[in-house]
């Protein structure tokens, strides 16, 4: 469903993603993990048509990400890094915008919007302008937009960060259900313990290069240990002034 061949992204001299090769099968939940600046969001941007690859190729749902960009957009749902919301639209209007652009009927848009607002605990803020929403509400709005048009592939950039535990549980349950129905999910996250519970494939990336790629069953021990071993180990600075009598 998602395929990358030597996919590379350069910003001048800096190589953000270096010859990425991936095969993600239909109905899987792929967790794309790595530290900040490792190239996760850049990869998502290339796969969703937000930026063009410097070299290499990629396909989503059998379509080339450069040549068939418009067709791909009709088949995918995206939760982008910056959420992609308009300050001048309310939560509900964002969903109506999605329904109209994806040419759903007004009745379908209304029904699906109501269901998504309920499922994501957004009903109370449906008439709030995006500019006045909390970060969590904005994230949930963007997630609802990604789901509304019933996509074949979902690209979610850090979907579990900044949302409340109940909604996080709802989202993870939803993702499992979607994958069972054949929808492919490609997500980035920093919450390793949560991802370990529902992902079917794990890809670790470090400085733009894939450090690990396997099914979750093939991960030796815990995902956290693998991450610390292959990507980066935690280093704590002793901030001696914290907790001292000095204010």
């Amino acid at each position: 469903m998602i395929s990358c061949r030597d996919l590379t992204c350069r910003y001048g001299e800096f190589v953000a993603v270096d010859r990425l090769n991936l095969e993600i099968e239909r109905g899987s939940i792929c967790a794309f993990l790595g530290p900040n600046g490792a190239g996760k969001s850049t990869t998502v941007k290339m796969l969703t048509g937000l930026i063009a690859p410097s070299s290499g190729s990629a396909s989503v749902a059998g379509l080339d990400v450069v040549r068939d960009a418009l067709e791909i957009k009709k088949r995918i749902g995206v939760l982008p890094e910056n959420l992609g919301l308009f300050d001048d639209l309310t939560v509900e209007e964002h969903l109506h915008l999605t329904g109209a652009v994806y040419q759903l009927s007004r009745a379908d848009t209304r029904d699906r919007s109501n269901q998504l607002l309920r499922a994501l605990h957004l009903e109370h803020g449906r008439y709030t302008f995006a500019s006045r929403c909390s970060h969590g509400m904005r994230k949930k709005t963007s997630l609802a937009m990604a789901l509304l048009a019933n996509p074949q592939v979902l690209f979610l950039d850090e979907p579990l960060e900044a949302i409340d535990p109940v909604t996080a549980k709802t989202v993870t349950d939803l993702l499992v259900t979607l994958s069972q129905r054949g929808i492919t999910v490609f997500l980035t996250s920093h919450i390793l313990a949560a991802v370990e519970q529902f992902a079917t494939r794990v890809v670790l990336i470090r400085k733009g290069v894939v450090a690990w790629n396997s099914t979750i069953a093939e991960v030796p021990g815990s995902l956290e240990k693998l991450y610390f071993d292959l990507v980066e180990a935690p280093a704590a600075e002793d901030l001696a002034w914290l907790g001292s009598s000095q204010s």
Binding site: G49, K74, N82, F86, H94, H96, L97, A100, R132
Partner: protein, 334 residues
């Protein structure tokens, strides 16, 4: 007191940095061309500009600090009151008002004028604190339209409403409409000139159509399964709607012709040279050269439609359609 001074210093820095955003007027077509064409005769136009800028200039300086951050700082009640009393003096408008009061005492300025300016300053100050609800109410009343682009058009109308360009054009339009109703003997040429002034007030916005969308909005545009021309059309539809409504009582067909040309020329800057804009300011034009071409072509188009034939709208629409198609493609490639 040390804490209050620290906060005041931060507010002062933020206010003075913010003053730079008012310089957007210096690259605005309306200001540049009226200053050039009318010089001293354009006093009433400069008064409109000053009047509109007075509102954002009067904003409460304490609004520069997020309310929650301000409440989190360990300030006691006395320090709060000192901050509340001293903070307005960080705003240069307050000093101007104080100077005007002294002039009024010395009879250089009338008390009536001082009262009007002070009243507007107070209104701007209070609105900046409690005006969010009023703006929400107005924004919610913006109607939606049919079709695939309905929500985008609604959003674009709201964005236009948050620029001073539209309010300037509205003041000109309403004032001329009242004049037209009151004096039925005014020659139609006078209204054509006012159509051009209304369009001139809106023209800089046509050079920065994506200026208020922010990074998130621009990302969303790239994710939507829409052609570039459709995204541009949603922008233009809002602009054309405003242009026609504001010239309805003057000469709507001339207004439409002028608006089509302003957009056709403005697409170049809007698509190729994205210039972020700030709400409640005049739009900053992206290019003086583009502004000159906008003014030249809109004058020819409006004059042609008003004086020669309505059929001249056809070539205007054709030029606009070519621009829409071309820059729509450019938008997709970007």
């Amino acid at each position: 007191m040390v804490r209050v001074l620290a906060v005041l210093k931060a507010v002062w820095r933020a206010v003075w940095r913010g003053q730079g955003s008012f310089l957007s007027i210096s690259t605005n077509n309306f200001f540049i061309f009226t200053a050039y064409l009318f010089r001293q005769q354009g006093v009433f136009l400069y008064l409109i500009i000053a009047l509109l800028m007075l509102f954002p200039l009067s904003a409460d300086p304490l609004r520069k600090i997020p309310a929650e951050r301000l409440r989190l700082w360990p300030l006691n009640r006395r320090e709060w009151w000192i901050l509340r009393i001293l903070s307005p003096w960080v705003n240069p408008m307050m000093w101007l008002l104080a100077a005007a009061t002294i002039w009024a005492v010395r009879r250089s300025v009338t008390w009536q004028l001082l009262g009007i300016v002070a009243g507007m300053f107070a209104l701007g100050f209070v609105l900046s604190d409690v005006g969010g609800g009023a703006w929400d109410g107005l924004a919610r009343r913006v109607p939606g339209f049919g079709g695939q682009l309905r929500e985008l058009i609604r959003k674009n109308l709201r964005q236009m409403l948050s620029t001073l360009d539209l309010w300037c054009a509205l003041v000109l339009s309403v004032a001329t409409t009242i004049y037209r109703v009151a004096d039925r003997n005014t020659p139609p040429e006078g209204f054509l000139l006012m159509v051009l002034l209304v369009m001139l007030a809106l023209s800089s916005y046509a050079q920065c159509l994506f200026g208020l969308d922010g990074e998130g909005g621009l990302t969303r545009y790239r994710l939507l399964p829409l052609h570039g021309w459709q995204i541009l059309l949603a922008k233009d539809a809002a602009f054309l709607l405003v242009a026609v409504v504001l010239t309805l009582a003057l000469n709507p067909l001339a207004g439409l012709a002028a608006a089509l040309m302003v957009l056709a020329v403005g697409h170049e800057q809007s698509v190729k040279h994205l210039k972020p804009q700030i709400r409640w300011r005049f739009s900053s034009g992206a290019s003086l050269g583009n502004g000159v071409v906008q003014v030249f072509t809109m004058s020819i188009a409006a004059n042609g439609v008003a004086r020669t034939s309505v059929l001249l709208l056809v070539p205007c629409a054709a030029i606009y359609a070519i621009s829409l198609w071309w820059y729509g493609r450019t938008l997709e490639v970007k």
